[in-house]
């Protein structure tokens, strides 16, 4: 993770006096672990089952009768009935889960699987996610913590906090740092539990307030013990059920300086493994760069997309075009020579016509000449044979 080479700085605040930075420490790599609510939910639901106590129904409950079915033919249901007489119980149905005084359906057994195994890596992933979420102000606020007046989140405080012994001192500190509003919320919303837990020694329900994480307990545990809503924890043993109560990430945590620094050793980073959890590196996110809009608009992605864009717009939508043999402009667009071709054809036709005319005229003339010439011959012949004609005439008259 290149971003981790420049780690952001977190201010360390004193526990009294003035609220100002006395020191600055780099942010441990855990806080950049991927925030995975799905992983946290899964691990939390299974982890929460691990502090259950076995309960069951008595094995003999409902079975302590020698009831037998009366069988058919007696106009009663075939359920086993209590033997004997002289008491109201006799003849009553027994054994069935539907019967009064019968045993329940599938009586609960002690050997029900109460606890759940979770893969160690998954557990660690969830814890890393939960710790990372405690530094995200919107998540902490959405969890319901009153963090408006805090100087900074994550809130890191000097190690002197670990040496507090009196509750009064602890309360004074919380007020000083601006965390007391969260405690006030807890006090204000203390209620009687809804449901039967109230008479099973779980009478009151409290919200969760700030959690104070220390490296060494020099009295801090006892100092904060009696403040409602506040929990303390050693940084070596952070519990997911406390970091993400109800599988809701974003607990408000107050870190002591040494505890904060130890996070780097306890959870490691992506390059260096954890010193305390053998072979454990911080989980890697699926996406390194989550700015999806920027990725999409980047040059590298846009050039590829642009090259894949359909290019058919060049010719536009369905083109309507007239028949080139009917529309000359369309024809000329396709074949600019066409007009010239027609002209040439016309010229050729004209030329042929003329040639033909010449030939026809010539042959006609020849024919006429022949005709004229033969007429002359006929006339000569006719002059020679006048007498014959006259004789013919005479004969006609006769």
């Amino acid at each position: 993770m290149t971003t981790q080479q420049l780690r952001p700085i977190v201010s360390v605040f004193p526990i009294k006096g003035k609220v100002k930075t006395i020191k600055q420490v780099p942010l441990p790599s855990v806080f950049s672990a991927p925030i995975r609510p799905d992983v946290v939910r899964f691990v939390h639901t299974n982890m929460a089952k691990n502090n259950r106590q076995a309960h069951a129904v008595s094995t003999t409950a409902g079975e302590q009768t020698s009831a037998t079915s009366w069988g058919t033919g007696r106009a009663v249901a075939r359920i086993p009935r209590v033997k004997g007489s002289g008491t109201g119980r006799s003849g009553q149905a027994a054994f069935g889960n539907m019967c009064r005084g019968g045993r329940m359906y599938a009586p609960k057994k002690v050997w029900r699987k109460w606890h759940r195994k979770i893969n160690t890596n998954q557990k660690r992933y969830a814890v890393c996610s939960a710790i990372a979420a405690t530094a995200v102000t919107p998540l902490v606020m959405s969890r319901g913590h009153r963090v408006n007046k805090l100087p900074e989140l994550p809130l890191v405080v000097s190690d002197q906090l670990q040496s507090l012994t009196k509750t009064r001192q602890a309360v004074k500190f919380l007020k000083f740092i601006g965390a007391y509003r969260d405690v006030e919320k807890v006090i204000r919303t203390k209620k009687t539990r809804v449901g039967q837990g109230k008479y099973r020694n779980r009478r009151h329900v409290l919200r969760k307030g700030p959690m104070v994480v220390y490296a060494r307990n020099l009295g801090i545990k006892k100092a904060f013990r009696n403040i409602p809503g506040v929990e303390t924890a050693s940084v070596y043993t952070l519990n997911l059920l406390k970091l993400a109560p109800g599988s809701q990430m974003g607990r408000f945590i107050i870190w002591t300086e040494s505890a904060f620094k130890l996070l780097e050793d306890i959870y490691g980073s992506w390059e260096k493994p954890s010193k305390f959890k053998s072979g454990f590196y911080l989980p890697r996110p699926v996406m390194v760069n989550t700015d999806v809009e920027r990725i999409i608009k980047s040059d590298q992605v846009q050039t590829v997309l642009r090259n894949r864009r359909p290019r058919s717009r060049k010719y536009g939508k369905k083109i309507q075009r007239a028949d080139p043999y009917e529309d000359m402009s369309v024809m000329l667009k396709l074949n600019p020579y066409y007009k010239t071709k027609l002209q040439k054809q016309k010229e050729l036709e004209e030329k042929n016509k003329e040639e033909r005319k010449e030939i026809v005229d010539k042959s006609r003339k020849e024919y006429e000449d022949w005709l004229y010439f033969s007429e002359e011959e006929e006339e000569e012949e006719e002059e020679g044979s006048d007498e014959d004609r006259e004789i013919e005439v005479l004969s006609d008259e006769n």
Binding site: R294, K297, D299, P310, R311, S312, Y315, K318, I319, R321, D323, P324, Y325, V330, M331, K333, L334, N335, P336, Y337, Y338, T340, K341, K344
Partner: protein
Amino acid sequence: MSKQVPETIKKQVKRSFNSKEVKKEKNQKRMTLLKDIQSKAFKRAEKYEKEYLDQEQKLVELKQKALKEGSFYREPEPKLAFIIRIRGIVGVPPKPRKILQLLRLRRIYSGVFIRLNKSSLRMLHFIDPYVTWGYPDVETVRALIYKRGHARVNHQRKIIDSNEMIYDKLQKYDIICMEDLVHEIYTVGKNFKHANSFLWAFKLKPPVGGFSTVKRSFVNKGEHGNREQYINTLVKKMI
């Protein structure tokens, strides 16, 4: 946040293919290209007209010469055929069906040009009952391509409305205008395959005046099979 122009908008403005100047330049280039194509098309069309005329005359001369000598002139066998599918798609056996698919004759009254060689003639033999085919002349080829010629562009069937379309696809085969295309198809040139596949299969209309009987072959007073030069009259009725 101060009122800054988002980085992505800045990039968009900078990108050259959106700017007016680049668009103008592109357009100018295109215009000069179009002019060039049209001038070339004019010259080529002229050349081809002369070529066709010469071909005809040559044929006549050779025939006359042979007659004088008392022998025969055997014309070269036709290289080009135009096939029209004249039967529908119902009840076609698998082999003819596949061959019709390969020849792009997927619907009734669709027509394609095909180069005639031993293999294609064998294919035609199998699909004879479903098609009629023959040897088109120049005017038929022209009419088909001009009036009913559609190009296969981007897997789409688009009517050829300018020489630019042809230039874009077939420039590398030296076919840049309609006349080039007609010439390539009619003379079955070196790039006949590309010219032919550029053309979508012709969708013709049912013939004016109808068919006699598609069930019989043309030789038997029907319609299917080889009808040699009479394909030209049929296409005129179907175009």
